[in-house]
Symmetry: C2
Subunit: 231 residues, 2 copies
DNA sequence: ACCTGAACACCGTTCAAGT
DNA sequence: ACCTGAACACCGTTCAAGT
């Protein structure tokens, strides 16, 4: 609550510089938000959401167990910062200029999904956490392109959220199913035993053999076709 | 790992009878999976995912602290059972018979979303947990109606997952934003300060005043129009 | 300004023991 | 068969203290 050390509010103060650009010198460099966040991402990638523990994070940084709390308010803030750091977008150079709004949106949203799948913990985390600058930047870009493509001001929020919903749902589902392929197999085998109760999805082998990328693109295309007026 | 007490596998054994139908007699009735799950749902509704603690759950059941572990393998199983218990679907009486496949799908998916929003903890939980019988039942129904509506066998899984993705994304987002309206307000106010960086979404007031139900229905309609061939 | 270890108040779960 | 309390191995976080 009270101002203490490096951060003065409830909300994280987003670092301004680029992350993940630390030199590993011989002896450990000094602690910093950047190093903490970069190492937290490493730890999350390696062990998942449950694997991020403050003591282990400090260990990996070569720091004393409780040193982190000078740089960071609490564990929640580490999550917020790690999440946003993974969602930077450097893109849409030519397509947006060429007036190819469909290509620009597809590129940004596919990149968004790909970024989250590279860090599977991030997808489930995103909807529950604060919206950092990289997330807001993507939303801003999305809104700008949609608007330029002809979406009315009154329909803009609805269009943005529809796309958000679809991308989040697809990515969260994919990230979690991906984490446990053997679970899906087990599920499908359990289904086979119950094929009397679930004949349709059993026959379609719903829990197996899915072309996730293709499904994602197709649904996204349908949404875009409906949301943006054809001219 | 080894069989112990009431449950013999890693996966939860889903109870067969209806849940939530316990009589509160004068003295506490005996412990049972049904009572445990029903009370877990109460606790989750009242305090959220973080509020479910094994000791508190036992307390609320008037049982000794560790009695639960005879009926349940671990906390994870409590989550699995609570989740599925909340997703029962008794519906589609007339519309599916009348051949109104669009109405049947809309009804089932809107009910799905409504059920999860009545228990906001359930939405974020669902993609990470095992698919219980109630969830599988909804997927089966969805597949059956889509198939009857003319979706090719080869397109069936894609259609089911597209709809799943959209419903999950919309519900998870809504459930989490709902939980912290003041966060959205704070976010929008923070945005106002940064309107130079995010002019489009600031002007559209993206983080405020959203007609969530309308947005959900519209996007769902667009997806259905695209996924099911018109005849 | 920056880091540290000891200590506190929790957790989930195990286990030997009760009825 | 069903329940119990004590105990273990953790957690996040606070705090007084160091440099």
């Amino acid at each position: 609550m009270a101002a203490k050390g490096g951060s003065q509010g409830k909300r994280p103060q987003w670092p301004t510089g680029p992350l993940l650009s630390m030199q590993e010198t011989g002896s450990e460099p000094a602690l910093s938000i950047e190093r903490i966040v970069a190492t937290a991402v490493e730890l999350l990638d390696a062990e998942g959401v449950g694997g991020l523990k403050m003591r282990r994070l400090a260990d990996r940084l070569g720091a004393g167990a409780m040193s982190l709390y000078w740089h960071v308010d609490n564990k929640e803030q580490v999550f917020d910062l790690a999440l946003d750091s993974v969602l930077e977008y450097r893109g849409t150079p030519q397509s947006i200029e060429a007036g190819d709004w469909r290509g620009a949106i597809f590129h940004m949203l596919e990149d968004w999904r790909a970024s989250m799948l590279r860090h599977p913990w991030s997808a489930s985390l995103l909807p529950r956490r604060a919206l950092g600058p990289n997330i807001l930047g993507r939303l801003e870009l999305l809104g700008r392109v949609l608007s330029r493509a002809g979406v009315e001001e009154a329909d803009l929020n609805g269009a943005i959220w529809s796309l958000w919903n679809y991308v989040m749902g697809a990515t969260i589902t994919r990230a979690n199913f991906n984490l446990s392929d053997e679970d899906m197999l087990a599920g499908q085998q359990r289904l086979a035993h119950l094929s009397a109760q679930y004949p349709t999805i059993e026959r379609a082998r719903l829990l197996l053999d899915n072309d996730w990328d293709g499904v994602f693109r197709k649904g996204l295309g349908l949404l875009l076709d409906g949301l943006v007026p054809s001219r």
